[in-house]
């Protein structure tokens, strides 16, 4: 299938595109009714509550509207779903989100570029370093500064390890959702080892604020090569154990294969990126197709599925852990010596030792941490391939030391649109597998 012949996914015919936009209220109503057979339940919470208040009629075999979440163990946080059911079959559904919305984009307008990292890192809390990376890349593009080579390699190292820890978390929660409880324990166990390395490098297990505009916050510890080599040695054989535990098991396959199928055309039309898009058979990975950092200098494969079902998405993430470890192994050899942050005095505070001997250095240090550095006016979009898909930062600067507008293109937020389409005509139990396979992080969805 060609990727260009994307038809609107939920049954809307493509004719109005060529004919131009129909106008007037009649045309609008016609368009809405044309979309009725859609997978998306377009009903407000108030309407749903009204229907829910009707008394139950035992002789009535009509459709049932069921609320699932926001506090449900398999909804990965505070995702709420409105399901239209016929028996146990899901017909239409609507994800209701916003329970974790704390206005982080608004908060970002009040934090300097140096403080901004602490804000964005809390969005996708399973892969915080990617948020920081996208934010830093956008800031650096506005500033027009170059980052030292070592800093770039450190960023790659940390991000790939973060991809490993994030996918391990997926393995754990996906296993738990489907009843493979031992997988949950194993996933958390291995992830903890990666987080332990993060704690050693950044001081924190998550929400690191480690990647900052201009480089990274601190250099790697002296024995990082041993630590990372041990991590690879530990995790790689464990992945083979997961294979034994899950991949070939009939129960596991039965739960995932043929469940939640999406085609490449649908995925593209709905804006899906990451494993969701690759699972549908489209080889698209920003690390390869729009190389940033030094991804063009390392060797790795883009893992692609065939069927676009939950099983493919599981297999993709499992194998992406292997690919990430492969990249990490190359980074151990490629890591150059040098600065871990730019020596551009405009964005980098003076070293601690200088502050004790120079009044100017002290003032400079004070100014950078109180006022922040000014960033030239303009607008920019920077995107990275996070474990969940394209994570982009759109930033507008007015020349001051805080962003005028900070928008995060959250992969989980956009990917969530595919849920009703994946769940349509499936069972509720399959819905659990599907939510897990989309792997939404609610902090990323709601921001």
């Amino acid at each position: 299938m060609s990727i260009t012949d994307t038809a609107p996914a939920d049954g809307a015919s493509p004719e109005p595109v060529a004919a131009g936009m129909p106008t007037g209220p009649a045309a609008g109503a016609e368009r809405v009714s044309r979309r009725e057979p859609s997978a998306v339940l377009r009903m407000s919470e108030a309407e749903a509550a009204e229907i829910g208040g009707d008394p139950d009629d035992p002789d009535d075999d009509e459709l049932v509207l069921l609320n699932m979440g926001p506090s449900h163990p398999s909804t990965h946080g505070v995702l709420r779903l409105m399901l239209e059911l016929s028996g146990e079959t899901v017909l239409r559904s609507k994800p209701v989100i916003g329970y974790l919305h704390t206005g982080m984009e608004k908060t970002g307008e009040n934090l300097t570029y140096l403080q901004g990292g602490t804000n964005v890192t809390r969005m996708d809390y399973a892969s915080p370093l990617f948020n920081e990376l996208a934010f830093s890349l956008a800031t650096e593009r506005l500033l027009g500064i170059e980052v030292p080579e070592r800093a770039t390699w450190i960023r790659m190292l940390m991000c790939e390890l973060n991809r490993v820890s994030s996918h391990l978390l997926f393995m754990a929660t996906n296993g738990m959702d489907l009843g493979a409880v031992s997988m949950m324990i194993y996933g958390w166990r291995e992830r903890e080892e990666v987080l332990r390395f993060f704690e050693k490098v950044t001081g924190l297990r998550m929400n690191h604020n480690y990647i900052r505009p201009g480089g990274v916050a601190a250099d790697l510890p002296a024995d990082w090569r041993t630590d990372v080599a041990e991590l690879i040695e530990l995790i790689e054989p464990r992945l083979d154990e997961y294979d034994t535990l899950l991949t070939g098991q009939p129960i596991w396959r039965e739960r995932l294969q043929g469940v939640g199928i999406i085609s490449a055309a649908e995925a593209v039309a709905l804006g899906a990126t990451g494993p969701l898009l690759r699972g549908a058979g489209m080889a698209w990975d920003l690390r390869r197709d729009e190389p940033y950092l030094f991804y063009d200098q390392v060797d790795f494969d883009v893992i692609v599925g065939i069927h676009g079902d939950c099983y493919d998405r599981y297999a993709i993430r499992l194998n992406e852990i292997r690919e990430s470890l492969r990249i990490v192994a190359q980074i151990i050899d490629a890591m150059p010596s040098g600065d871990y942050r730019t020596q551009d005095k405009k964005v980098t505070p003076p070293p601690r030792a200088r502050i004790d001997e120079s009044m100017e250095a002290l003032i400079h240090h004070f100014k950078i941490f109180t006022e922040g550095f000014k960033v030239p006016a303009g607008e920019v979009y920077a995107a990275v391939e996070s474990p969940r898909g394209e994570l982009g930062v759109y930033m507008v600067s007015d020349g001051s030391s805080v962003p005028y507008r900070l928008h995060v293109r959250a992969p989980s937020f956009v990917n969530l649109q595919t849920l009703p389409h994946l769940m349509q005509n499936g069972l509720i139990a399959d819905g659990i597998a599907i939510i897990g396979s989309v792997d939404p992080i609610m902090g990323d969805v709601d921001r």
Binding site: R31, E45, M282, A377, A383, Y394, R405, Q417
Partner: protein
């Protein structure tokens, strides 16, 4: 590249070399449809900016009348590995533009978010409702004249108010 859609092209300076075009609100849907027909098969991102208190030079190309709101859409062509950004000026007194849902169904959540946060109406959207804020919320939080201190304290009816 961008010239062929018949919309003014953004200068290089404000966008750091990224391809930007500035269609007018009336051109918005046509230009988007032309871009989609031209291979931009995915709507990656759609958001808005409120330029109410913007102090610097907006650096818009000639012929583009600056307005308070701007809707920004990022398109992706997988075949050519190319991105295109469309920026449209939306006036404050009539903040509405046509929806892109008919071209890219993926616009649904993104446009709902832009409506929720900025109050921009997307004509013809199948579900023009709030997405992140509660349904009965008033105001649009990311507008520059929406002061975060205005939000009333919740649970003030609780018995142990301090």
């Amino acid at each position: 590249m961008a010239e062929r859609y018949g919309a003014p092209v953004g200068g290089d300076r404000p966008s750091r070399g990224q391809a930007v075009i500035h269609p007018s609100p009336s051109q918005w849907f046509e230009v988007a449809a032309a871009a989609r027909a031209d291979g931009f098969d995915q709507l990656i991102d759609l958001t808005a900016v409120d330029y109410l208190t913007y102090s610097a030079d907006r650096a818009l190309p000639e012929g583009v009348q600056p307005e308070r709101f701007e809707v920004v859409a990022s398109l992706m062509s997988h075949e050519r590995r190319e991105r295109l950004r469309m920026r449209v000026q939306v006036p404050a007194d009539d903040p509405s533009i046509p929806t892109l849902f008919d071209l890219w169904p993926g616009a649904e959540n993104l446009e709902r978010e832009a409506y929720d946060m900025f109050g921009i109406v997307f004509e013809g959207h199948p579900d023009p409702s709030r997405i992140l804020m509660p349904e009965d919320w008033s105001g649009h939080p990311l507008r520059k004249d929406y002061d975060s201190g205005e939000i009333p304290v919740q649970f003030k009816a609780a018995s142990n108010v301090r």
